[in-house]
Symmetry: C2
Amino acid sequence: MTSGERLSEDELIARLFAPIAGAGAFSLKDDAARLQPPEGQDLVLTADALVAGVHFFATDPAGSVARKALRVNLSDLAAKGADPLGFLITVALPPDWTVDWLAAFAAALGEDAHRYHCPLLGGDTVRTPGPLTLSVTAFGALPTGRMVTRLGARPGDRILVTGTIGDASLGLALRSEPTSAWANVLSPAEKAHLADRYLQPEPRCLFARAIRDHANAAMDVSDGLVGDLAKLLKASGVSGELDLDAVPLSAAARAAIGARPQLLETAVTGGDDYEILCTVPEGRLTSLRAAADAAGVALSVIGEVQAGKGELAIRDQRGPRQFGRQSFSHF
Amino acid sequence: MTSGERLSEDELIARLFAPIAGAGAFSLKDDAARLQPPEGQDLVLTADALVAGVHFFATDPAGSVARKALRVNLSDLAAKGADPLGFLITVALPPDWTVDWLAAFAAALGEDAHRYHCPLLGGDTVRTPGPLTLSVTAFGALPTGRMVTRLGARPGDRILVTGTIGDASLGLALRSEPTSAWANVLSPAEKAHLADRYLQPEPRCLFARAIRDHANAAMDVSDGLVGDLAKLLKASGVSGELDLDAVPLSAAARAAIGARPQLLETAVTGGDDYEILCTVPEGRLTSLRAAADAAGVALSVIGEVQAGKGELAIRDQRGPRQFGRQSFSHF
């Protein structure tokens, strides 16, 4: 395929997307796919839309855009305790789309579909006079009745989070102020780490089983830790306390915040972490930690659920803290 | 709600979309939904994206836009022989969206969800600097192994189509040339009929069971009868003949084509019909007709499947016919 080439919708589906389609997709020759749900399992459904210039940069590599579109949905499934079954994607292509770009996009999507055992089942390609717009609907499965929601947190539960928080939002800040004083204290490897976490989330699929086995409530952190925890507590009808000093930070994030302390707020309210936030009864902590070790997932206790009416108290070693905003706002 | 009001994402979900959500959607308080698949059934999955200015007019009423977004997907399910189970929708809102518009959109979506027994299960709302962009993923169910695809047409099958063809594409033509000579021969009721069929498809959900009981192959007519039939024959690895004189036309379409014969090409290649095209063995025709009568669906034999390599021959009483284009092209 050459860069100036144009393809009809049927051609681009047959050449770029059919090779990455899974069983039940009929090589994308049909408008619809068949899914035979595993016996004794519930399905978990989630959908996320991503718009160029809003959720990613129009100049981001095609592969990064593809991976982000799928992975933000896989992250939702993992946080519900579900294993991936498949996905559909709709792609609205802007006037300047090229076959080369779409080929790289489809190839990366196929690699991730294979990596996460989440085959492409169908979708739609249309044109738009606006920016590239993607919508992914992903399906997962888990044993009947075992889906973990945001609604189940109970007083006394410990609040935990996987991985590290704030890398992606600091990576985004780095792109808008690459020559700032705080950026200059970072090593090239630290800069790359932050930038990469914004571009390419790592969904915690390997931790899904531990979530469904041990957590009372869970969600993925997509809009910022503080705001997302507030949402979880409110949905569960409980209150809670967040210990800022316990929030896990990468070495790169520590270096950035060391150089500019206000960046702590960016880190804990900025979003795009795609880590799993969960609440777990104390009696399950040991089992959860063992599962995290087995999955190679870091796990930190960052607070506690309390009886109450949906209030979140934030403190560090010096006392209570408040932030101007809690999370990324979509409007 | 007043017209100048702004809502946060959480508020608009809670106020506009949660009231129309189905069981398993947790009142949209979670990022994901649970679907308990009916035992002994396969799921059918389909997704369609719609962009303002491409698939509908930005000035179309909010209710029409909502109904079209859901119904084009319900039409896909019906053509596969599946009964609706639920849907997810992602909505990318342009900068000038208003609460009033979105409230009317959500209300109409809820009415259709109720009417077609297809509850809202989840989705995502984001902003876009571009046009309003909607993506719906719909799920249907049918007995295991009974999904009807485009791939099963066999030589000797009769080719049939429901309802009437061309009304929507003529309705679209009417919008771009409302004072043309052909438009002037139409009565106000005929104009309204054509305009309405473009704005609001009527998915053939009541015919889904007849399709899965009797059809070898089926698809909905969304991109134009001629092009869609050519796709079906090619996917099935057979050829076929289309009798143009047998294509069912409404009185309004007959009047328009009578005034301007070239509009026949618009009618059979223009798309947006959302009727069901299917191929059926001769021995099943009587049963299929009985099911159509019971469902109140008109049904016409328009051709025959033949052995071959995917060619479509088109004829009318004067002999072979060809068209400059076969169907709506998405690019």
